[in-house]
Symmetry: C2
Subunit: 238 residues, 2 copies
DNA sequence: GCAAAAGTGTTGGCATTACACCCATGG
DNA sequence: CCATGGGTGTAATGCCAACACTTTTGC
Protein backbone atom coordinates (compact mmCIF):
# COMPACT_ATOMS: atom_id res chain seq x y z
CA UNK A 1 0.00 0.00 0.00
CA UNK A 2 0.98 3.59 -0.05
CA UNK A 3 1.47 3.46 -3.77
CA UNK A 4 -1.09 5.26 -5.82
CA UNK A 5 -1.84 2.32 -8.06
CA UNK A 6 -2.70 0.11 -5.19
CA UNK A 7 -6.26 1.00 -4.48
CA UNK A 8 -8.53 -1.96 -4.52
CA UNK A 9 -11.02 -2.18 -7.30
CA UNK A 10 -11.83 -5.76 -8.09
CA UNK A 11 -15.04 -5.14 -9.97
CA UNK A 12 -13.98 -1.89 -11.48
CA UNK A 13 -16.88 -0.73 -13.50
CA UNK A 14 -15.17 2.53 -12.66
CA UNK A 15 -11.91 1.78 -14.36
CA UNK A 16 -12.26 4.87 -16.42
CA UNK A 17 -12.77 7.20 -13.50
CA UNK A 18 -10.09 9.53 -12.26
CA UNK A 19 -8.21 8.67 -9.13
CA UNK A 20 -7.19 11.57 -6.93
CA UNK A 21 -5.02 12.42 -3.98
CA UNK A 22 -7.00 12.79 -0.80
CA UNK A 23 -5.65 14.24 2.41
CA UNK A 24 -6.86 15.34 5.82
CA UNK A 25 -5.95 18.55 7.63
CA UNK A 26 -6.53 19.01 11.34
CA UNK A 27 -7.33 22.17 13.18
CA UNK A 28 -5.99 21.24 16.60
CA UNK A 29 -7.48 23.56 19.17
CA UNK A 30 -6.33 24.14 22.70
CA UNK A 31 -7.12 26.53 25.51
CA UNK A 32 -4.04 28.36 26.79
CA UNK A 33 -3.63 31.65 28.58
CA UNK A 34 -7.39 32.13 28.73
CA UNK A 35 -7.64 31.88 24.99
CA UNK A 36 -8.58 29.41 22.28
CA UNK A 37 -5.55 28.69 20.11
CA UNK A 38 -4.65 26.60 17.12
CA UNK A 39 -1.59 24.44 16.73
CA UNK A 40 0.43 25.17 13.62
CA UNK A 41 3.56 23.68 12.14
CA UNK A 42 6.17 24.83 9.69
CA UNK A 43 5.29 23.40 6.30
CA UNK A 44 8.08 21.00 5.35
CA UNK A 45 8.02 21.11 1.52
CA UNK A 46 8.96 23.59 -1.14
CA UNK A 47 7.78 25.99 -2.41
CA UNK A 48 6.07 26.78 0.88
CA UNK A 49 8.72 25.39 3.15
CA UNK A 50 8.74 27.33 6.40
CA UNK A 51 5.27 28.81 6.05
CA UNK A 52 2.75 28.06 8.75
CA UNK A 53 0.38 25.23 8.10
CA UNK A 54 -2.15 22.91 9.67
CA UNK A 55 -1.16 19.39 10.48
CA UNK A 56 -2.20 16.96 7.78
CA UNK A 57 -1.60 13.69 6.08
CA UNK A 58 -2.59 11.71 3.04
CA UNK A 59 -5.32 9.11 3.05
CA UNK A 60 -4.19 5.75 1.85
CA UNK A 61 -6.24 2.97 0.43
CA UNK A 62 -6.48 0.90 3.57
CA UNK A 63 -7.36 3.56 6.15
CA UNK A 64 -10.71 5.21 6.90
CA UNK A 65 -10.55 8.97 6.56
CA UNK A 66 -11.64 9.51 10.16
CA UNK A 67 -8.86 7.18 11.26
CA UNK A 68 -6.37 9.04 9.10
CA UNK A 69 -7.28 12.27 10.83
CA UNK A 70 -7.10 10.65 14.23
CA UNK A 71 -3.72 9.12 13.56
CA UNK A 72 -2.45 12.46 12.31
CA UNK A 73 -3.50 14.21 15.50
CA UNK A 74 -2.32 11.49 17.81
CA UNK A 75 1.05 11.23 16.16
CA UNK A 76 1.53 14.95 16.58
CA UNK A 77 0.29 15.25 20.16
CA UNK A 78 1.01 11.85 21.68
CA UNK A 79 -2.53 11.90 23.05
CA UNK A 80 -5.25 9.29 22.67
CA UNK A 81 -9.02 9.45 22.40
CA UNK A 82 -8.92 13.02 21.26
CA UNK A 83 -12.32 14.52 20.51
CA UNK A 84 -12.64 15.17 16.78
CA UNK A 85 -15.26 16.34 14.33
CA UNK A 86 -15.25 16.51 10.59
CA UNK A 87 -15.66 20.07 9.39
CA UNK A 88 -15.76 20.28 5.62
CA UNK A 89 -14.16 18.91 2.49
CA UNK A 90 -12.27 21.32 0.30
CA UNK A 91 -12.11 20.19 -3.29
CA UNK A 92 -11.35 23.02 -5.66
CA UNK A 93 -8.95 22.17 -8.42
CA UNK A 94 -6.52 24.95 -7.72
CA UNK A 95 -6.55 25.01 -3.96
CA UNK A 96 -3.13 23.39 -3.97
CA UNK A 97 -1.33 25.04 -6.86
CA UNK A 98 1.02 22.22 -7.67
CA UNK A 99 -1.44 19.35 -7.90
CA UNK A 100 -5.01 18.28 -7.38
CA UNK A 101 -5.62 17.33 -3.78
CA UNK A 102 -8.99 16.98 -2.11
CA UNK A 103 -8.75 17.62 1.60
CA UNK A 104 -11.14 16.87 4.40
CA UNK A 105 -10.75 19.17 7.35
CA UNK A 106 -11.31 18.11 10.96
CA UNK A 107 -11.03 19.88 14.22
CA UNK A 108 -9.58 18.30 17.35
CA UNK A 109 -10.06 19.53 20.91
CA UNK A 110 -7.25 18.81 23.28
CA UNK A 111 -6.65 19.54 26.89
CA UNK A 112 -3.30 21.25 27.14
CA UNK A 113 -1.41 19.80 30.02
CA UNK A 114 1.72 17.69 29.67
CA UNK A 115 1.34 17.84 25.92
CA UNK A 116 3.49 20.66 24.82
CA UNK A 117 6.92 19.17 25.28
CA UNK A 118 6.18 16.10 23.29
CA UNK A 119 5.03 17.78 20.14
CA UNK A 120 7.06 20.90 19.92
CA UNK A 121 10.27 19.70 18.41
CA UNK A 122 9.61 17.99 15.13
CA UNK A 123 7.94 20.70 13.06
CA UNK A 124 8.18 23.64 15.41
CA UNK A 125 4.58 23.07 16.37
CA UNK A 126 3.36 26.17 18.18
CA UNK A 127 0.13 27.66 19.43
CA UNK A 128 -1.32 30.70 17.69
CA UNK A 129 -4.11 33.04 18.70
CA UNK A 130 -7.05 32.89 16.37
CA UNK A 131 -7.32 36.64 16.04
CA UNK A 132 -3.78 37.13 14.87
CA UNK A 133 -3.07 34.17 12.67
CA UNK A 134 0.01 34.34 10.50
CA UNK A 135 -0.49 33.70 6.78
CA UNK A 136 -1.07 30.00 6.18
CA UNK A 137 -0.40 27.78 3.19
CA UNK A 138 -3.10 26.95 0.65
CA UNK A 139 -6.61 27.45 1.99
CA UNK A 140 -5.74 26.66 5.58
CA UNK A 141 -7.02 29.99 6.86
CA UNK A 142 -10.43 29.11 5.48
CA UNK A 143 -10.19 25.79 7.24
CA UNK A 144 -9.42 27.36 10.58
CA UNK A 145 -12.35 29.72 10.19
CA UNK A 146 -14.71 26.95 9.19
CA UNK A 147 -13.58 24.86 12.13
CA UNK A 148 -14.18 27.64 14.61
CA UNK A 149 -17.62 28.38 13.20
CA UNK A 150 -18.52 24.74 13.52
CA UNK A 151 -17.16 24.51 17.05
CA UNK A 152 -19.04 27.63 18.03
CA UNK A 153 -22.33 26.09 16.95
CA UNK A 154 -21.61 22.72 18.48
CA UNK A 155 -20.35 23.94 21.82
CA UNK A 156 -23.74 25.39 22.66
CA UNK A 157 -25.64 22.19 22.10
CA UNK A 158 -23.21 19.60 23.37
CA UNK A 159 -20.95 19.59 26.38
CA UNK A 160 -17.73 19.37 24.38
CA UNK A 161 -16.12 22.44 25.89
CA UNK A 162 -14.83 20.23 28.68
CA UNK A 163 -12.56 18.47 26.19
CA UNK A 164 -10.48 21.62 26.18
CA UNK A 165 -10.03 21.77 29.95
CA UNK A 166 -8.20 19.59 32.44
CA UNK A 167 -10.38 17.15 34.37
CA UNK A 168 -10.55 19.58 37.27
CA UNK A 169 -11.28 23.18 36.44
CA UNK A 170 -12.68 26.27 38.05
CA UNK A 171 -15.78 28.19 37.07
CA UNK A 172 -13.80 31.13 35.83
CA UNK A 173 -11.74 28.89 33.58
CA UNK A 174 -14.94 27.50 32.14
CA UNK A 175 -16.36 30.97 31.72
CA UNK A 176 -13.28 32.24 29.96
CA UNK A 177 -13.25 29.21 27.72
CA UNK A 178 -16.78 29.87 26.56
CA UNK A 179 -16.08 33.56 26.15
CA UNK A 180 -13.12 32.74 24.00
CA UNK A 181 -14.98 30.26 21.82
CA UNK A 182 -18.05 32.40 21.40
CA UNK A 183 -16.03 35.56 20.95
CA UNK A 184 -17.96 37.72 23.40
CA UNK A 185 -18.14 38.41 27.08
CA UNK A 186 -20.62 36.57 29.24
CA UNK A 187 -22.09 37.62 32.55
CA UNK A 188 -20.45 35.70 35.37
CA UNK A 189 -23.54 35.30 37.46
CA UNK A 190 -25.85 34.33 34.63
CA UNK A 191 -23.31 31.86 33.33
CA UNK A 192 -22.78 30.18 36.69
CA UNK A 193 -26.51 30.02 37.28
CA UNK A 194 -27.09 28.30 33.97
CA UNK A 195 -24.26 25.84 34.35
CA UNK A 196 -25.25 24.96 37.90
CA UNK A 197 -28.85 24.44 36.88
CA UNK A 198 -27.75 21.80 34.39
CA UNK A 199 -26.51 19.70 37.25
CA UNK A 200 -23.70 18.18 35.21
CA UNK A 201 -20.76 19.24 37.34
CA UNK A 202 -19.47 17.84 40.55
CA UNK A 203 -18.10 20.41 42.95
CA UNK A 204 -14.91 19.14 44.58
CA UNK A 205 -13.55 19.93 48.02
CA UNK A 206 -10.29 21.04 46.56
CA UNK A 207 -9.56 24.59 45.58
CA UNK A 208 -7.32 26.16 43.00
CA UNK A 209 -5.11 28.59 44.84
CA UNK A 210 -2.69 29.36 42.04
CA UNK A 211 -4.77 31.93 40.28
CA UNK A 212 -6.33 33.68 43.23
CA UNK A 213 -5.57 34.31 46.84
CA UNK A 214 -8.95 33.28 48.05
CA UNK A 215 -8.97 30.09 46.03
CA UNK A 216 -11.66 28.82 43.66
CA UNK A 217 -13.41 25.50 43.92
CA UNK A 218 -12.60 22.86 41.35
CA UNK A 219 -15.39 21.25 39.40
CA UNK A 220 -15.51 18.11 37.34
CA UNK A 221 -17.74 17.19 34.42
CA UNK A 222 -19.79 14.08 35.09
CA UNK A 223 -20.05 12.16 31.85
CA UNK A 224 -22.26 9.44 33.26
CA UNK A 225 -24.77 11.89 34.61
CA UNK A 226 -24.90 13.57 31.24
CA UNK A 227 -25.44 10.30 29.42
CA UNK A 228 -28.22 9.44 31.79
CA UNK A 229 -29.93 12.78 31.29
CA UNK A 230 -29.46 12.41 27.54
CA UNK A 231 -31.28 9.12 27.50
CA UNK A 232 -34.15 10.84 29.30
CA UNK A 233 -34.44 13.36 26.51
CA UNK A 234 -32.39 16.12 28.11
CA UNK A 235 -30.81 18.63 25.74
CA UNK A 236 -27.70 20.54 26.65
CA UNK A 237 -28.27 24.11 25.63
CA UNK A 238 -26.16 27.04 26.54
CA UNK B 1 -8.92 14.14 -18.52
CA UNK B 2 -11.34 11.76 -16.99
CA UNK B 3 -8.68 9.07 -17.01
CA UNK B 4 -7.34 8.12 -13.63
CA UNK B 5 -3.73 8.62 -14.56
CA UNK B 6 -4.31 12.14 -15.64
CA UNK B 7 -4.30 14.07 -12.42
CA UNK B 8 -1.87 16.88 -12.42
CA UNK B 9 1.12 16.64 -10.19
CA UNK B 10 4.09 18.43 -11.61
CA UNK B 11 6.05 18.73 -8.41
CA UNK B 12 4.96 15.43 -6.97
CA UNK B 13 6.62 15.21 -3.67
CA UNK B 14 3.59 13.05 -3.15
CA UNK B 15 4.34 10.51 -5.84
CA UNK B 16 4.28 7.77 -3.31
CA UNK B 17 0.85 8.62 -1.96
CA UNK B 18 -2.23 6.60 -2.79
CA UNK B 19 -4.67 7.93 -5.31
CA UNK B 20 -8.31 7.18 -4.66
CA UNK B 21 -11.68 7.30 -6.30
CA UNK B 22 -13.74 10.22 -5.13
CA UNK B 23 -17.42 10.68 -5.81
CA UNK B 24 -20.30 12.90 -4.80
CA UNK B 25 -23.80 11.81 -3.82
CA UNK B 26 -26.70 14.20 -3.75
CA UNK B 27 -29.71 14.14 -1.49
CA UNK B 28 -32.18 15.96 -3.70
CA UNK B 29 -35.04 17.20 -1.58
CA UNK B 30 -38.40 18.42 -2.73
CA UNK B 31 -41.70 19.35 -1.13
CA UNK B 32 -44.62 17.39 -2.55
CA UNK B 33 -48.01 16.51 -1.15
CA UNK B 34 -47.31 18.55 1.97
CA UNK B 35 -44.22 16.50 2.69
CA UNK B 36 -40.46 16.67 2.34
CA UNK B 37 -39.29 13.95 -0.01
CA UNK B 38 -36.07 12.67 -1.46
CA UNK B 39 -35.42 11.83 -5.09
CA UNK B 40 -34.04 8.32 -5.61
CA UNK B 41 -32.98 6.39 -8.67
CA UNK B 42 -32.55 2.76 -9.50
CA UNK B 43 -28.87 1.92 -9.14
CA UNK B 44 -27.59 0.99 -12.58
CA UNK B 45 -24.71 -1.41 -11.82
CA UNK B 46 -24.35 -4.93 -10.51
CA UNK B 47 -24.43 -6.28 -7.88
CA UNK B 48 -26.90 -3.67 -6.66
CA UNK B 49 -28.62 -3.08 -9.94
CA UNK B 50 -32.21 -2.11 -9.33
CA UNK B 51 -31.78 -1.11 -5.69
CA UNK B 52 -32.67 2.42 -4.71
CA UNK B 53 -29.86 4.92 -4.56
CA UNK B 54 -28.99 8.58 -4.36
CA UNK B 55 -27.85 10.37 -7.44
CA UNK B 56 -24.10 10.57 -7.69
CA UNK B 57 -21.09 10.91 -9.87
CA UNK B 58 -17.34 10.64 -9.84
CA UNK B 59 -15.06 13.61 -9.38
CA UNK B 60 -12.54 14.00 -12.12
CA UNK B 61 -9.24 15.78 -12.04
CA UNK B 62 -10.39 18.96 -13.68
CA UNK B 63 -13.62 19.65 -11.81
CA UNK B 64 -14.16 21.16 -8.37
CA UNK B 65 -16.12 18.88 -6.09
CA UNK B 66 -18.86 21.46 -5.57
CA UNK B 67 -19.16 21.76 -9.33
CA UNK B 68 -19.32 18.01 -9.69
CA UNK B 69 -22.22 17.90 -7.27
CA UNK B 70 -23.96 20.75 -9.04
CA UNK B 71 -23.55 19.18 -12.44
CA UNK B 72 -24.88 15.91 -11.11
CA UNK B 73 -28.02 17.57 -9.79
CA UNK B 74 -28.56 19.76 -12.80
CA UNK B 75 -28.14 16.92 -15.23
CA UNK B 76 -30.73 14.94 -13.35
CA UNK B 77 -33.27 17.71 -12.87
CA UNK B 78 -32.71 20.04 -15.79
CA UNK B 79 -32.74 22.90 -13.32
CA UNK B 80 -30.16 25.62 -12.80
CA UNK B 81 -28.92 27.56 -9.78
CA UNK B 82 -30.15 24.90 -7.45
CA UNK B 83 -29.44 25.62 -3.79
CA UNK B 84 -26.87 23.16 -2.48
CA UNK B 85 -24.91 22.53 0.69
CA UNK B 86 -22.16 20.10 1.46
CA UNK B 87 -23.18 17.72 4.21
CA UNK B 88 -20.38 15.32 5.07
CA UNK B 89 -17.67 13.17 3.56
CA UNK B 90 -17.95 9.44 4.01
CA UNK B 91 -14.62 7.72 3.82
CA UNK B 92 -14.66 4.30 5.42
CA UNK B 93 -12.76 1.64 3.54
CA UNK B 94 -15.61 -0.81 3.29
CA UNK B 95 -18.50 1.53 2.71
CA UNK B 96 -18.57 0.41 -0.91
CA UNK B 97 -17.83 -3.30 -0.74
CA UNK B 98 -16.27 -3.66 -4.15
CA UNK B 99 -13.72 -0.87 -4.03
CA UNK B 100 -12.47 2.10 -2.07
CA UNK B 101 -14.49 5.18 -2.83
CA UNK B 102 -14.58 8.34 -0.77
CA UNK B 103 -17.84 10.17 -1.20
CA UNK B 104 -18.84 13.69 -0.34
CA UNK B 105 -22.54 14.08 0.28
CA UNK B 106 -24.52 17.20 -0.61
CA UNK B 107 -28.12 18.14 -0.31
CA UNK B 108 -30.01 20.07 -2.95
CA UNK B 109 -33.29 21.89 -2.45
CA UNK B 110 -35.51 22.11 -5.47
CA UNK B 111 -38.85 23.61 -6.12
CA UNK B 112 -41.01 20.92 -7.64
CA UNK B 113 -42.94 22.39 -10.50
CA UNK B 114 -42.40 21.47 -14.12
CA UNK B 115 -39.48 19.32 -13.11
CA UNK B 116 -40.88 15.89 -12.76
CA UNK B 117 -41.38 14.96 -16.38
CA UNK B 118 -37.87 15.77 -17.38
CA UNK B 119 -36.08 13.60 -14.92
CA UNK B 120 -38.30 10.64 -14.46
CA UNK B 121 -37.41 8.47 -17.38
CA UNK B 122 -33.74 7.74 -17.35
CA UNK B 123 -33.23 6.00 -14.03
CA UNK B 124 -36.79 5.75 -12.77
CA UNK B 125 -36.14 8.74 -10.55
CA UNK B 126 -38.96 8.92 -8.02
CA UNK B 127 -39.82 10.79 -4.86
CA UNK B 128 -39.82 8.94 -1.56
CA UNK B 129 -41.14 9.93 1.86
CA UNK B 130 -38.40 10.28 4.42
CA UNK B 131 -40.23 8.26 7.03
CA UNK B 132 -40.65 5.21 4.85
CA UNK B 133 -37.49 5.00 2.84
CA UNK B 134 -36.84 1.79 0.97
CA UNK B 135 -33.47 0.11 1.60
CA UNK B 136 -30.73 2.03 -0.15
CA UNK B 137 -27.36 0.97 -1.51
CA UNK B 138 -24.15 1.38 0.48
CA UNK B 139 -24.43 3.99 3.24
CA UNK B 140 -26.97 6.13 1.44
CA UNK B 141 -29.49 5.90 4.26
CA UNK B 142 -26.93 7.48 6.57
CA UNK B 143 -26.43 10.20 3.99
CA UNK B 144 -30.11 11.00 3.80
CA UNK B 145 -30.32 11.20 7.57
CA UNK B 146 -27.26 13.42 7.83
CA UNK B 147 -28.64 15.70 5.13
CA UNK B 148 -31.97 16.11 6.88
CA UNK B 149 -30.31 16.84 10.21
CA UNK B 150 -28.19 19.49 8.57
CA UNK B 151 -31.14 21.00 6.74
CA UNK B 152 -33.15 21.05 9.96
CA UNK B 153 -30.48 23.12 11.67
CA UNK B 154 -29.92 25.41 8.75
CA UNK B 155 -33.52 26.13 7.94
CA UNK B 156 -34.02 27.84 11.28
CA UNK B 157 -31.17 30.30 10.80
CA UNK B 158 -31.36 31.03 7.11
CA UNK B 159 -34.32 31.58 4.85
CA UNK B 160 -33.61 28.59 2.64
CA UNK B 161 -36.99 26.97 3.06
CA UNK B 162 -38.23 29.11 0.19
CA UNK B 163 -35.97 27.20 -2.17
CA UNK B 164 -38.38 24.31 -1.79
CA UNK B 165 -41.47 26.30 -2.73
CA UNK B 166 -42.64 27.92 -5.93
CA UNK B 167 -42.07 31.66 -6.17
CA UNK B 168 -45.62 32.29 -5.05
CA UNK B 169 -46.85 30.30 -2.11
CA UNK B 170 -49.49 30.49 0.59
CA UNK B 171 -48.94 30.68 4.31
CA UNK B 172 -50.27 27.22 4.88
CA UNK B 173 -47.85 25.80 2.34
CA UNK B 174 -45.02 27.49 4.17
CA UNK B 175 -46.31 26.25 7.50
CA UNK B 176 -46.60 22.69 6.27
CA UNK B 177 -43.13 22.88 4.77
CA UNK B 178 -41.60 23.86 8.09
CA UNK B 179 -43.63 21.29 9.94
CA UNK B 180 -42.38 18.64 7.58
CA UNK B 181 -38.75 19.68 7.84
CA UNK B 182 -38.75 20.10 11.59
CA UNK B 183 -40.84 17.00 12.13
CA UNK B 184 -43.39 18.53 14.48
CA UNK B 185 -46.56 20.56 14.38
CA UNK B 186 -46.44 24.30 14.70
CA UNK B 187 -49.15 26.66 15.83
CA UNK B 188 -50.66 28.41 12.84
CA UNK B 189 -51.15 31.77 14.51
CA UNK B 190 -47.78 31.89 16.21
CA UNK B 191 -46.06 30.86 13.01
CA UNK B 192 -47.79 33.51 10.92
CA UNK B 193 -47.08 36.15 13.51
CA UNK B 194 -43.40 35.35 13.53
CA UNK B 195 -43.06 35.19 9.77
CA UNK B 196 -44.97 38.44 9.30
CA UNK B 197 -42.83 40.18 11.90
CA UNK B 198 -39.73 39.38 9.88
CA UNK B 199 -41.06 41.51 7.10
CA UNK B 200 -39.45 39.40 4.40
CA UNK B 201 -42.53 38.44 2.46
CA UNK B 202 -44.56 40.42 0.01
CA UNK B 203 -48.27 39.75 0.12
CA UNK B 204 -49.68 39.56 -3.38
CA UNK B 205 -53.15 40.50 -4.57
CA UNK B 206 -53.61 37.10 -6.09
CA UNK B 207 -55.11 34.17 -4.26
CA UNK B 208 -54.67 30.45 -4.52
CA UNK B 209 -58.14 29.04 -5.05
CA UNK B 210 -57.14 25.50 -5.87
CA UNK B 211 -56.72 24.26 -2.35
CA UNK B 212 -59.53 26.08 -0.65
CA UNK B 213 -62.85 27.55 -1.52
CA UNK B 214 -62.23 30.84 0.16
CA UNK B 215 -58.81 31.26 -1.40
CA UNK B 216 -55.51 32.00 0.29
CA UNK B 217 -53.28 34.94 -0.46
CA UNK B 218 -50.04 34.26 -2.24
CA UNK B 219 -46.81 35.54 -0.76
CA UNK B 220 -43.39 36.00 -2.24
CA UNK B 221 -40.00 35.95 -0.58
CA UNK B 222 -38.11 39.22 -1.09
CA UNK B 223 -34.47 38.36 -1.50
CA UNK B 224 -33.33 41.95 -1.78
CA UNK B 225 -35.06 42.96 1.41
CA UNK B 226 -33.41 40.07 3.17
CA UNK B 227 -29.97 40.98 1.88
CA UNK B 228 -30.48 44.53 3.01
CA UNK B 229 -31.54 43.45 6.48
CA UNK B 230 -28.60 41.04 6.59
CA UNK B 231 -26.13 43.80 5.92
CA UNK B 232 -27.66 45.69 8.84
CA UNK B 233 -26.89 42.80 11.14
CA UNK B 234 -30.30 41.16 11.01
CA UNK B 235 -30.40 37.45 11.83
CA UNK B 236 -33.10 35.20 10.49
CA UNK B 237 -34.24 33.03 13.35
CA UNK B 238 -37.25 30.82 13.42
C1' DG C 1 -4.79 47.65 54.33
C1' DC C 2 -5.24 46.91 49.68
C1' DA C 3 -5.40 44.61 45.35
C1' DA C 4 -7.37 40.75 42.93
C1' DA C 5 -10.35 37.21 42.07
C1' DA C 6 -14.49 34.49 44.09
C1' DG C 7 -18.96 34.16 45.12
C1' DT C 8 -23.79 35.27 45.28
C1' DG C 9 -30.08 37.22 43.98
C1' DT C 10 -33.37 40.10 42.19
C1' DT C 11 -35.96 42.38 38.74
C1' DG C 12 -38.00 43.97 34.32
C1' DG C 13 -38.71 43.12 29.68
C1' DC C 14 -39.19 40.21 25.93
C1' DA C 15 -40.29 36.19 23.49
C1' DT C 16 -42.79 31.97 23.34
C1' DT C 17 -46.69 29.36 24.14
C1' DA C 18 -51.36 28.13 24.50
C1' DC C 19 -55.71 28.73 23.01
C1' DA C 20 -61.01 29.34 19.86
C1' DC C 21 -63.93 31.51 16.94
C1' DC C 22 -65.71 33.67 12.66
C1' DC C 23 -65.17 34.07 7.47
C1' DA C 24 -65.66 33.02 2.64
C1' DT C 25 -66.85 29.95 -0.78
C1' DG C 26 -67.85 25.84 -3.82
C1' DG C 27 -70.36 22.09 -3.95
C1' DC D 1 -76.58 24.81 4.16
C1' DC D 2 -72.63 22.67 5.23
C1' DA D 3 -67.90 21.23 4.90
C1' DT D 4 -63.35 22.94 4.22
C1' DG D 5 -59.50 25.59 4.81
C1' DG D 6 -58.32 30.81 5.78
C1' DG D 7 -57.63 34.24 8.78
C1' DT D 8 -57.11 36.66 13.21
C1' DG D 9 -55.74 38.53 19.06
C1' DT D 10 -54.90 38.06 23.92
C1' DA D 11 -53.25 36.48 28.27
C1' DA D 12 -49.92 33.71 31.07
C1' DT D 13 -45.43 32.01 31.41
C1' DG D 14 -40.79 31.32 31.42
C1' DC D 15 -36.34 32.78 30.00
C1' DC D 16 -32.67 35.94 29.51
C1' DA D 17 -30.20 40.10 30.44
C1' DA D 18 -28.82 43.61 33.34
C1' DC D 19 -26.95 44.83 37.41
C1' DA D 20 -23.23 45.57 42.52
C1' DC D 21 -21.59 44.41 46.60
C1' DT D 22 -19.21 41.37 50.08
C1' DT D 23 -15.62 37.84 51.04
C1' DT D 24 -11.06 35.98 51.36
C1' DT D 25 -6.30 36.21 51.55
C1' DG D 26 -1.42 36.97 49.91
C1' DC D 27 1.46 40.54 49.61
Amino acid sequence: MGNFNNHIRPISYHKTEASLLHSVDCVILGFLQDELKVLLIRFPYQPFKGHWSLIGGFVNADTDIDATARITVERMTNLENVYMEQVHTFGNIKRVPSERVITTCYYALISVEPTLNILSKEYEATWHSLDKLPPLVYDHEQMVKAAVVKLREKVRRQPIGFELLPKKFTMSQLLKLYESILGRNLDKRNFNKKIQSMDLLEKLEEKDTENSKRGAYYYQFEVEKYNQLLSNGYLFDL
